[in-house]
């Protein structure tokens, strides 16, 4: 199965199982297509709700997963300005793809997300991570990371309205 399909499936499964999970993934928001425009015009302008730190972290995890299976680092980097471990992750991904390789894994699942501090917002994050394989340009698996639950401490910063991850480390 293609990696992106694996990831897509993994992102969909938690939605299907949302009623069974203690900490379900949010439903991915897809942009409205032109054909699905509303039939009635809104009477007043709605102020978009500020994103909660928790939602931001979930979105950040998703961006990190997608970065790993696509090699596209832009979105994850934008969400992680000033985070050195994030930059290390980005560089690891870039190196693999620059060499013609790829990363195969089915995406992570947020198993636990718990606030442990407010100033700055700090969270304990448990990421259920499937086996991850690094494949080189000839299709050979050069490295395999076993599956398991990675435990992290995440620190957020804020620039204007936007959250960003300033630090993540294993705890």
């Amino acid at each position: 199965m293609h990696v992106r399909r694996l990831l897509a499936l993994s992102l969909a499964v938690p939605v299907l199982l949302a009623g069974c999970s203690d900490d379900p993934e949010p439903t991915p928001r897809m942009p409205d297509s032109p054909s699905s425009s509303p039939t009635t015009e809104p009477t007043e302008t709605e102020t978009p709700e500020a994103e909660s730190p928790e939602d931001f972290i979930r979105r950040w995890v998703k961006a990190g997963d997608e970065m790993q299976v696509t090699g596209e680092t832009g979105e994850f980097r934008d969400m992680s300005r000033g985070c050195r471990a994030c930059e290390d992750l980005i560089q690891n991904v870039r190196r693999i793809y620059a060499d013609g390789g790829r990363i195969e894994f089915a995406g992570t699942r947020v198993a636990r997300l718990n606030s442990v501090g407010d100033e700055p917002p700090t969270f304990e994050l448990d990421l259920e991570t499937p086996e991850t394989r690094i494949v080189d340009d000839s299709g050979q698996t050069t490295q395999t990371y076993p599956s398991g639950i990675g435990k992290y401490l995440i620190t957020l910063g804020q620039r204007g309205e936007d959250w960003r991850v300033t630090h993540y480390g294993r705890r």
Binding site: C83, D88, T129, T132, Y145, G150, K151, H167, G169
Partner: protein, 262 residues
């Protein structure tokens, strides 16, 4: 489990603390209670230590040198990016170094983030790096003097000396200030003084030899120290070091009056 050993070089930072202490031997000494590395997420992240964990580990045993240094990267990271919180206390993320190798991160509480402990590191450097001895000048010159005569001793090396070193990723200027001179006259007599002596005719440090013979004279210099981090204030180093001077032979001779016909 062991933490990954990831070496990083940090550029100058806004502030820094350092503690030179030791811990027991063992591969697990640097592990803290960090969880296993899972996937690329885990492989890219270092271990997060709690501050008490760091304090406990770094303050026991005698096998390793530990210090923490505020995180930075090419001077481009702002304080806001380094802020952290632990048990309700805010602080700054620091790298944990064991024997100079980055072994994880720790949230150092604001109250602990000061520059006091860097002095421990600086004292070590102050004593480790080479400082010059003082050039001893004896009058009369050419290695000869007279018995029962005031032989003059002095040095012109009396100004402070600066050396720039890197301590805990910070540029530190260490200044050695000569404070005490020990003039060893070679016959068992020693004069310890804050004065470097003076050239003739303003005699200051002199010695009268009572016997002829050859003696070995030397001048030892004791330096006190001070340092400053970057452009910060000068801070006294609460210790001194003594540099032993190079010995030189001095022949003590007797002068006999002799009439000379013109």
């Amino acid at each position: 489990m062991s933490a990954p050993v990831i070496a990083r070089v940090s550029a100058s930072a806004a502030m820094c603390i350092a503690a030179v202490v030791a811990v027991p031997v063992g591969a697990g000494a640097a592990s803290g209670s960090c969880s296993e590395s899972i996937g690329l997420w885990g492989a890219s992240a270092t271990c997060t230590w709690s501050y008490p964990e760091y304090q406990q580990t770094s303050s026991s045993g005698e096998e390793h040198t530990w210090y923490v240094s505020v995180q930075s990267a090419n001077g481009g990271i702002r304080r806001d990016d380094l802020m952290c919180t632990e048990n309700g206390q805010t602080g700054l993320w620091h790298d944990v170094f064991m024997d100079g190798v980055d072994v994880g991160d720790v949230c150092v509480p604001d109250a602990e983030v000061d520059e006091v402990n860097i002095g421990e590191m600086v004292i070590r450097r102050f004593k480790d790096i080479a400082w010059p001895d003082s050039n001893l000048v004896v009058q009369p010159p050419k290695g000869k003097t007279l018995v029962n005569f005031e032989t003059n001793f002095y040095t012109l090396d009396s100004i402070p000396i600066d050396q720039t070193v890197t301590v805990a990723n910070r540029q530190v200027v260490i200044r050695a200030v000569p404070t005490t001179y020990a003039f060893h006259f070679g016959d068992g007599a020693v004069t310890r003084t804050a004065s470097p002596g003076r050239p003739h005719p303003d005699l200051d440090v002199t010695h009268v030899y009572e016997r002829v013979g050859t003696v070995e004279v030397r001048l030892d210099t004791t330096y006190s120290g001070e340092y400053r981090i970057g452009d910060g204030d000068w801070v006294d180093i609460p210790d001194t070091l003594t540099v032993t001077g190079e010995p030189q032979d001095l022949e003590v001779v007797e002068a006999l009056p002799q009439l000379v016909l013109e």
